[in-house]
């Protein structure tokens, strides 16, 4: 029965993805420690590998408090939307030729749609907390995400023009001769910047910038709900790395090793790069972030789109 297979597949994906995201927290802290010439968490288990488990146990036993001044239903809903929207996107990621939940013919659009849904988590958390820091964080998140969503879509269109499909497995297979990172280098850079901004990773973590907004949109959150936000952020980082791998770095393609190993290797190196960015770059001011987006990246993305379309049509003649 295909439906049962599908359910099992989805369950397996969730069962693998969520602990991986938790491990990623430890991995990031260790790697940050390495970049900053300190140890990082190294006490629980070998090399501190069980640190995330310890953190999880701690966070589960924390008092799950909802402030009396908060809007209760929306306050509870907000972290769920974030984690769910990101988890849904994993459904269309092709990890290897036959390891994917859905090979939808609108896969790329589905990813964009789910990314745009994820913003509600932050915006609604900021609003429902009824706290000025949280509201400011939510406002920033809304402005930042809407701005960067535009370039994200436009930067992917170059790849869609070249491969002629929204289907992610088609896009991977179209890269057999050359990865799209070479003809679409501008699109690659723009998509990466937009991806960092979309997942609120440092240096673009302005919605939760702790020096100015205490903790931004999740100021009032504690316990398991806070953990869901955290989970959503790390899942988002994994998702963006996987999408860059799929769309620009040839996905599962590569010699000698099995496809899934190539896919995971490429994803892991991108994650390491994101951690390095966190260690290396300072946070811009909010107006600088939006100015960069609208005045520089948007024209560049449009230029890339027009140039790609021109080249494609020129080749067809």
């Amino acid at each position: 029965m295909p439906t049962l297979d599908l359910v099992l597949m989805i369950a397996a994906m969730v069962a693998i993805l969520v602990p991986t995201a938790a491990m990623l927290v430890w991995f990031e802290r260790r790697l940050l420690g390495f970049f900053q010439q300190r140890y990082g968490p190294n006490r629980v288990g070998y090399f501190g590998i069980l640190q995330s488990l310890a953190d999880l146990i701690k966070i589960l036993f924390k008092h799950d408090w909802i402030p009396p001044f908060a809007d209760r239903p929306v306050f509870v809903l907000a972290p769920l939307i974030g984690a769910l929207a990101v988890l849904m996107s994993f459904a269309v990621v092709p990890m290897s030729p036959n390891l994917m939940v859905s090979d939808s013919n609108i896969g790329l659009l589905f990813f964009l749609a789910m990314t745009s849904m994820a913003v509600y988590s932050v915006v609604l958390a900021g609003w429902a907390s009824n706290n000025k820091y949280a509201l400011l964080g939510g406002m920033r998140a809304a402005a930042q995400t809407i701005s960067y969503e535009v370039f994200m879509g436009v930067s992917l269109l170059g790849v869609v023009i070249l491969s002629g499909s929204f289907k992610l497995s088609d896009i991977v297979l179209a890269q057999q001769n050359m990865w799209y990172v070479i003809p679409q280098f501008l699109g690659f850079v723009i998509f990466m910047i937009a991806g960092i901004a979309e997942s609120h990773r440092l240096p673009f973590d302005l919605p939760e910038a702790e020096t100015e907004l205490t903790a931004g949109f999740h100021t009032e959150y504690s316990g398991i709900k806070f953990a869901l936000f955290f989970l959503g952020e790390y899942l988002g980082m994994m998702l963006i790395s996987m999408m860059i791998t799929t769309v620009f770095l040839g996905g599962w393609l590569g010699p000698w090793l099995p496809p899934i190993v190539w896919f995971l290797l490429k994803t892991l190196s991108l994650i390491c790069f994101f951690v390095l960015l966190r260690a290396a770059l300072p946070r811009p001011r909010f107006d600088q972030l939006l100015e960069l987006g609208w005045k520089w990246i948007l024209p560049l993305a449009l230029l890339n789109l027009v140039a790609t379309a021109f080249v494609k049509l020129w080749g067809d003649f």
Binding site: P73, S104, A142
Partner: protein, 179 residues
């Protein structure tokens, strides 16, 4: 048959959510129901064989326009007083007129559906409309409509630019400041 059942489920969710949009007293809650309604509509589009329209419905309507709505309403600082005032406005007298008009429309729709039974037989064979078909229709027979819509958007953009423009510095009236 399976997709028909799914269609009816998502269509009824859309109806229910739309009903909640107009009965909710808190504006943000109403907006949330509107988002649910739009998502359910996107599912309807998908099931009717228009995956591209469904994806755009989520990306553009639910993902961008509604975020801006929530963004704006967030600033209003809605409190208990506003909710009470809202509930006073939602009296049964104000429902009467719209309900009557809508009932007339509903009867009309039922009549049309009744008189054209050919539609019901074709719904099992859904034709898939992909992005290419949408694109060639938009830039073929409907080019004029696309251009007019883009004019409209440009006008909105110019208006927004004008409103957000920094006001020119007026020279301060020196004579008032002089002793």
């Amino acid at each position: 048959m399976n997709s028909l059942g799914l269609f009816y489920v998502s269509a009824s969710i859309a109806l229910l959510a739309s009903f909640c949009v107009i009965t909710q007293k808190n504006a943000v809650h109403a907006l949330l129901y509107l988002i649910v309604s739009l998502l359910a509509l996107a599912l309807c589009f998908y099931l009717l064989g228009a995956p591209f329209a469904a994806a755009l419905q989520i990306i553009v309507y639910a993902g961008a326009i509604m975020v801006l709505f929530v963004f704006a309403v967030m600033m209003f600082n809605i409190n208990q007083q506003d909710i009470e005032r809202e509930s006073q406005w939602l009296s049964w007298q104000s429902w009467l007129g719209p309900s009557l008009l809508v009932t007339v429309l509903l009867v009309e729709v039922l009549f049309i559906l009744q008189s054209q039974p050919a539609w019901t037989s074709t719904e099992s064979q859904v034709t898939l409309i992909d992005a290419k078909a949408v694109g060639s229709l938009l830039f073929g027979p409907y080019l004029l409509a696309v251009e007019i819509a883009s004019f409209l958007l440009l006008a909105g953009l110019v208006g927004g630019y004008h409103l957000a423009k920094a006001l020119p510095h007026k020279p301060v009236n020196k004579e008032v400041n002089q002793p």
